[in-house]
Symmetry: C2
Subunit: 350 residues, 2 copies
């Protein structure tokens, strides 16, 4: 099939470091090409892909200030859509990762478009907007993500979990006597303070591999830093190459995210390294973690601290096996099924 | 011709009170229909027009808070464009008053689109954006407006001055012994303090008919109100019905606007009532005012105060005659020429 993949222009595909959506797009493009599809990726020029790259200059985050982007980013993304849809007949399906900005263009082409909703859906303006395009096929990245808009008349084509390239994780060895791990943005909703509290209670060392966004700087300095104890190591942001070893070195990964995380790639990365996950029961967690088998699903920090004592009950091999459900291969399979169905439906309509 | 007129969705067309763009669109639609054209107006449902109304609910300003609009307004406007361009073959020309949001859609239809640039063009992100759509025909509302982007490769189809329905002004009688008038938003760039200063120096009463936007509330309370003297009357916002009498009752209208106003309908309204305009030399002022004939063009507040003493030199009939250059009829003629040229060029291309 001839497939257009439309990526946000903020970061390269794949991204340097943090950027779950861009990593997913990168893996999907490479897998689709390996599967014999003709893929065109609309993305920043510093992207690296097996697809044909239709490029749009350096990533926006490096070219413009946050303030400039407020005015400019929507228009630069809309320009990209003009390019995509001007030549939409070159494609059998358009797959956009810019969700709602894509909507108006779907009405102007006979070529089917599928949108992956990468973000949270529990926002008021989305409730107003999404039903206006109720017939556009949407993909959720977890079943839980849909709950916020379950009462709206929308067309869900599938849930396709974000996929990870497991090969990099195949060679690391899980250390069941290691530290507690925390990976994510240093933001309140990710629960860094809960992680520190759990480490304190269990007397285990904690390693935090976290990005501090400019917006989160104040939170980190004022709320988190003062609580860093000698046994808590803040090691900053880590890249894809460092991740397998970081996760494998942890006896458990803490995932105290306190908002309905639509997916949570951190959990998959940890499982892929054979490392169990101790998580709060929020968002997609119950879909990703099998309680008592690949980790523990907890209702509060108390339960999370108790779960750390039970880590030995978890078999690292079970974790690895379960991670395969979230491989980039499985993701590619999921999306390919959606594309094929949409193309068939289009043929039937003609 | 079959013409689509696409209006912003914030205010009805015509607007209740303040809203130059919406008033211009209303007059244009009615004139075009009177001229035998088939016009479809895309606008809020409370609009009143001789055109066929394709409506989009109540005006956004009445339905949503300013905060909600930040997220929602772009998407609601894009949805309207999807509607317009989904049926673009129903039209010989699309005329959009939403300027840059229109750009991407112009690439997806063979039907010519013309954009009127209603706002200021001296903004950084416009310099980045506009050349990306350099072949899209643009209309400026003054020649001066183009200066900020004169170095860019753009397609200017024409300058078409905003037009006024002069009939309402035909019956009022100019009072050459009246007050000094000020009409506009109560915002720093409109120069309300300069108007007060001129009134103080000349010893004449000043009447200010001005809207106080929520954003300008603080400026008004802290900077303007303390300077209101007994002979300065703040009468709030006035509507279209009140305007002719307000302008006619003024011996002169002060236009101390201190930014490159792209057009300035206030000047035309004043001239239409036979009332000369004393203005700062900014933006479109030298295109609208004939110095010494329909008012005075000044370089500072001193000159404006001196000009008040010379008001008797101006013939009110000259003002009225000159206003005809800016009638809604003249505007309609200007736009019709643009539409016809674009349609001819399209036929030639085919």
């Amino acid at each position: 099939m001839r497939i257009a993949q439309v990526a946000p222009l903020y970061e390269a595909v794949p991204p340097g470091a943090y950027g779950g959506t861009e990593r997913v797009i990168a893996a999907l493009c490479d897998r689709l090409v390996a599967g014999g599809h003709e893929v065109t990726l609309f993305a920043p020029e510093t992207s690296e892909t097996a697809a044909v790259l239709q490029s749009y200059g350096e990533p926006l985050r490096t070219r413009f200030s946050a303030e400039e982007l407020v005015n400019l980013a929507p228009h630069l993304h809309l320009e990209m859509f003009a390019d995509v849809y001007e030549r939409s007949e070159d494609f059998d399906v358009v797959h956009s990762h810019l969700d709602i900005w894509t909507f108006p263009f779907t009405r102007l082409s006979d070529v089917p478009t599928v949108l992956t909703m990468h973000g949270r859906l529990d926002l008021d303006f989305l409730r107003d907007l999404m039903p206006r395009y109720g017939s556009v096929p949407l993909v959720s990245i977890s079943d839980d993500q849909r709950l916020a808009v379950a009462d709206l008349d929308l067309t869900w084509a599938a849930t396709v979990y974000n996929g990870l390239d497991l090969s990099a994780y195949a060679e690391v060895q899980h250390d069941s006597d290691g530290y507690l791990g925390f990976v994510g943005r240093m933001a309140e909703e990710k629960g860094p303070l809960a992680a520190i509290e759990i480490a304190r209670r269990t007397g285990l060392p904690l390693r935090m591999a976290a990005k501090v966004d400019p917006l989160d700087e104040e939170y980190y300095e004022q709320e988190v830093k003062p609580h860093m104890e000698p046994d808590v190591a803040f090691i900053g942001e880590i890249d894809e190459l460092q991740k397998p070893e970081f996760y494998a070195g942890a006896r458990a990964t803490l995932f105290p995210s306190d908002w309905p995380e639509p997916f949570g790639l951190v959990m998959i990365e940890s499982l892929a390294a054979g490392t169990p996950v101790i998580a709060l029961r929020r968002g997609s967690v119950p879909e990703v973690i099998v309680d008592g088998v690949t980790g523990f699903i907890c209702d509060d920090v108390d339960e999370m601290a108790s779960a750390v004592e039970r880590i030995a009950e978890i078999d690292p091999e079970e974790c690895r096996r379960h991670a395969e459900k979230f491989s980039d291969e499985a993701m590619c399979r999921g999306y390919t099924e959606v594309y094929e169905r949409l193309a068939r439906e289009r043929s039937a309509r003609r």
